[in-house]
Symmetry: C2
Subunit: 151 residues, 2 copies
């Protein structure tokens, strides 16, 4: 079996000095998501479809097509993350992936785990770029959570 049979994930964990409810708001309000991730039309409901507006690349218009696959406030959120174009080879190649967030309370804060799974051999460029990018995005999520009016 070739190396193409393997899938990789990007995982970032970070303990944030906020209660889960404040982080949950930053994860699930479109206006706040835009602050730490991208322009979007997120809908906070299981099964909802929404999009992110990423940077266009080659034949890909930059639209990430998403669907909420887990919605369990304030601990678990997941969405399908699909984008790319069949004619692109590098960063904008077809990506059929999932982003999953898990919030676990800890003394003094919340452990936030982000797993972006589903990177195949054709997604090497996206994997490498996003492997470096997600830690910074998660840091911005912490900053965006600070400002929310949680409990």
């Amino acid at each position: 079996m070739s190396d193409e049979a393997a899938l990789r994930s990007i995982v970032v964990e970070r303990v944030m000095p906020h209660p889960p409810e404040k982080i949950w708001r930053a994860l699930t309000e479109a206006r706040l998501i835009e602050q730490w991730l991208m322009k979007n039309d997120f809908v906070p409901r299981l099964g909802a479809r929404f999009t992110f507006a990423a940077k266009p690349m080659g034949d890909w218009d930059g639209v990430v097509h998403c669907e909420v696959t887990e919605f369990d406030p304030p601990t678990r959120l997941a969405y399908a993350w699909r984008g790319g174009s069949r004619t692109n080879r590098a960063y904008g190649a077809v990506l059929d992936s999932v982003v999953q967030w898990t919030l676990t309370p800890e003394p003094g804060g919340t452990r936030v785990r982000m797993e972006h799974s589903g990177f195949g051999a054709q997604n090497r460029a996206a994997f490498e770029a996003m492997s470096g990018g997600w830690p910074r995005v998660v840091e911005r999520l912490e900053q965006a959570s600070r400002g929310t009016t949680g409990p």
Copy 2:
């Protein structure tokens, strides 16, 4: 909070055309582990301590100090993976990590998931090297599993 608060994991998933029991043998017999990973003195028992003999680097003798933290045949295995030296900066810096294997039966085979977690800011070089290396190691695990006398 600085970027040093974030931890990253390497995750590789691969569906192998073998039953879980055959893969479990390759994961837990020292002679077989050497075929796909490294020389070792693995002991198949919860709480057992063992070592891998990796390549020495700077002040680090290359010994990875491990301890079995999950042992649930034939589905879950985890071990602490500790190595490196305080005086090393790049690949051989102190690494306090965990390797976790999860085997899930599927029609015609087994989904194998490997997660190596605990890479901090000081482990960037090791993360990048092992991020490229683990998919090949998991491919070799598939080959090593083929030869075991499973059920």
